[in-house]
Structure formats: C-alpha cells, structure tokens
Symmetry: C2
Subunit: 208 residues, 2 copies
DNA sequence: CAAGATATCTTTACGTCGTCCAGATATCGA
DNA sequence: TCGATATCTGGACGACGTAAAGATATCTTG
C-alpha cells in the first residue's frame, strides 16, 4: 500500500521507480488519454528527470509494453470473473460481453494494448498461447458446451472467430452510428448481447 | 496526368498543393508506415516549407482526415467491385473478404482511417449513412438474400454485426497466432472464408 | 491596364518530444 | 572500508507541431 508520490521525501533511489513509472503512465492514460502519454510527462508525474526512465526501460515502446501487459492481466481477470459467474446457456456471450465492457471502460488502455501487439504482430502469450490463457479457456468452454473437440482446426477457428468478433465489437461499439440501436434495445449491454447473437459466438448456435 | 513533383520548376503557386500533400502523405504511408508520417515529412516530400500545409489544412489531423477519406473511397470501390462480381450463395462472405483484403493490403492507410474515425466516434457518412453507402448496400444484399426486411432493428443488427466482424478480422488477421491456421487451410483467403463461416455473416446462415 | 486586396508560400521562432551523454550520488560486494 | 555498480540529474541534439511576420504571386476592381 504505497502512498502517493508527490516527489516529496525521496529517501534513497526512489525505491521502485519502474513500478512508479508504470503507475504514472496508467494514471495519465486514464486522466488525459493516449495523446498526452509522453515519456517526459510520465517522468514528470513520477517526480523524476526525463532521462530517469531509461534506466528501467530501453525506450518509450518498452514502457508502453509494460503498461499493456498490465492491461492484458486486467482483461484476463475480467474474463475469468465472467467465466466463473456465468451460467451455461449464455456463457460465451457473457464472456464476450465482459471482454467488450473492459475495452469500453478502459478505452485508452485497450488502445495501447492492441497498438503494442500489432506493432509486433503478436498477441501476448499469456492471453493466447499459455494453457490457462483466456483463449484456451474460451476454447475449453466451447467444448464443455458441446463443440466437437475432435476437429481441432474447426475448434480453433471458432475460438478465433469469437475473439475477432469481440475485438471488432469493442472497437466499433463507441461509434455514434450505433446510438439509436442502443437506445432501441435499452442500453449498451442489451445491444452487445443482441449483436453477439448475430455473430455465431457459440459453435452450439451454428448451422450445419 | 500531372507528372511527379521534384520541387523543380514551380511555375506559380504550385498549382494544387492540397492534392500534392495528400498524395505525398499516401506515398509516405505506404513506403514507411504511420510512424514516419509527420507533417514536416509530408511537406518535404511535396517540396514545400513546413508551414505551407497550414494554408490548406487547419492542422495535422485535418490532413489525415483527407487521407482517410480517400481510403474510405478506395474501400468503397473494393467492396462495390466484390458486390458486383460475387454470386448468390457466398455473396456476403465475398464482400467481407474484399473488406479484409483491402485492410490487409493497405494496413497503414486502414489504421489512419479508423484512428481518425475513432477520435470523432463517427464513421464517415459516405460509408454508413448515405443511401448508397457500403453499409446500406450490404443491408440490402441481406434482404435480397432472404433476410426479413420487416424487422428493421434485427436487420440493422445483422448488418452491424457483419461490419464489426469484418473489422475485427481485419485487425487481427495479421497476428502470428493465426499463421498455422492459414497454413493448415491453404492460404489467407481460405482462412478468412473459414473464419467468416463461424461469424454468422449472413442472416440466412443463422440458426433459429 | 494599374493597384490594392487576397491567397499562397517562406523564414524564423517557440515549446515539446524522444533520446543520448557526462557527471553526480547512493547502494552493494569485496 | 572502498572500489564497482546501479540509479538519477543536467544539459544537449535533432525532429516535431504550430504560430507570426514577411515575401511573392494571383485575383479583383476601377
């Protein structure tokens, strides 16, 4: 429970500047958006000189990577909570909604996460490749709900399709063009649920 | 048929600098990516001073808006071509594939397009609101393929879902994580087709 | 056609940014 | 204890977005 850092009373070397920098970056991101997130602003917010971050991160991109990683962990937690709480018939939709809601509640952070991933054309393995990653958990949920685990390719396609659908929805749900649909359906969550119903989220819902 | 601009022989006022700036921006975008796209670099490429663009655009964002708008027009054309050529059973999938292929062939431009749109939370109306916009044409195609035009909300949901699906796929198809699926399915286009099959692109494919 | 009004472009300048380097200072290992 | 090492500061460099003032070409109007 470290208390806030007003650059007052810096005892020795600051303790854990790396931690403080990531926190500062997150604070700036939520308060002022991605355009205000400069390395110098982060250093300023943490109460150190503009060059100090370079002893903890190779460059700005590496700092953003650290911020993004915390974002992925938060997203993992949000999806895990939804997986634990949701019940069978709408389980996959509930997971998808938890995904989109996270992105909508932390738009700047979500943007940093995907910008970093896209630059490397690589999703973090704790999200996609690890055995307990959200990707694998969604895939296993699909099997638990009746998807055929024999056709491995098809199962991966279904999981990937669900992920792409959630991402696309997360990025587009904020556009004005959907306002009247949200209103007609009685709020953002019903809107998301209705859209997901058109996206074949569950293989159980699929034709053929 | 204006020949290339090597800053040589500038007759009077340059003729049409606005046009030249947008072209220069597009050239930089395709050759060096979005990070290299600075206002100064655009001016340099067009052979004018760093301040010259300010007589044609309020600021950098407005230049990017102009670039983005040309991108939307190109996307419109690509989708229109697919709509004209594709035949009934896979028509919607073919349109979706044309969308994703455009994004994959012009990744930097596609990024500029959506960055600009997201900043305003507004899709360009020539894409979504106009009567002959791709959105409306996709919607009408759905009706032509058998969707119920009576349930207006549901029809809009289906169209929006298709759009979100295409966008999500466009943004994610480049990730390494999908390489083995593309390989297993014999290329990028079969991969896209297979994924779309899981995304309920057409209301005709839908359950219930 | 002359001459002022206007549009276009250049020059210069300011503040901010990412990053590097040389020094200062604090911690740690022998 | 003292040298090695890690951490932080200060100052500097070039690139950026943008504004202001001056130059130059076109347009308008008499």
């Amino acid at each position: 429970m470290r208390e806030s850092q007003t650059a007052e009373m810096r005892p020795y070397h600051h303790g854990d500047l790396r931690r403080a920098l990531v926190d500062a970056a997150r604070r700036i991101l939520e308060a002022e958006g991605p355009t205000a997130l400069s390395l110098r602003a982060v250093a300023r917010e943490a109460g150190v000189s503009p060059a100090a971050p370079y002893h903890h991160f190779k460059d700005k991109a590496e700092l953003l990577d650290a911020v993004a990683q915390e974002g992925w962990e938060m997203l993992d937690a949000a999806m895990g909570k939804a997986m634990a709480e949701a019940e069978a018939p709408d389980k996959l939709t509930a997971i998808g909604i938890s995904y989109v809601c996270f992105a909508r509640e932390h738009p700047a952070l979500y943007r940093v996460m995907y910008d970093a991933a896209r630059d490397k054309a690589d999703l973090p393995e704790e999200m996609h490749d690890n055995e307990d990653s959200p990707y694998c958990k969604v895939r296993d949920t699909m099997v638990a709900l009746g998807a055929d685990p024999g056709d491995a390719i098809d199962l991966e396609l279904a999981t990937s399709a669900a992920w792409c659908a959630a991402h696309g929805l997360a990025e587009m749900a904020g556009f004005k063009q959907f306002d009247h649909l949200k209103e007609a359906l009685g709020g953002e969550t019903p809107f998301l649920r209705a859209i997901f119903r058109h996206m074949g989220l569950s293989p159980l819902d699929r034709r053929r």
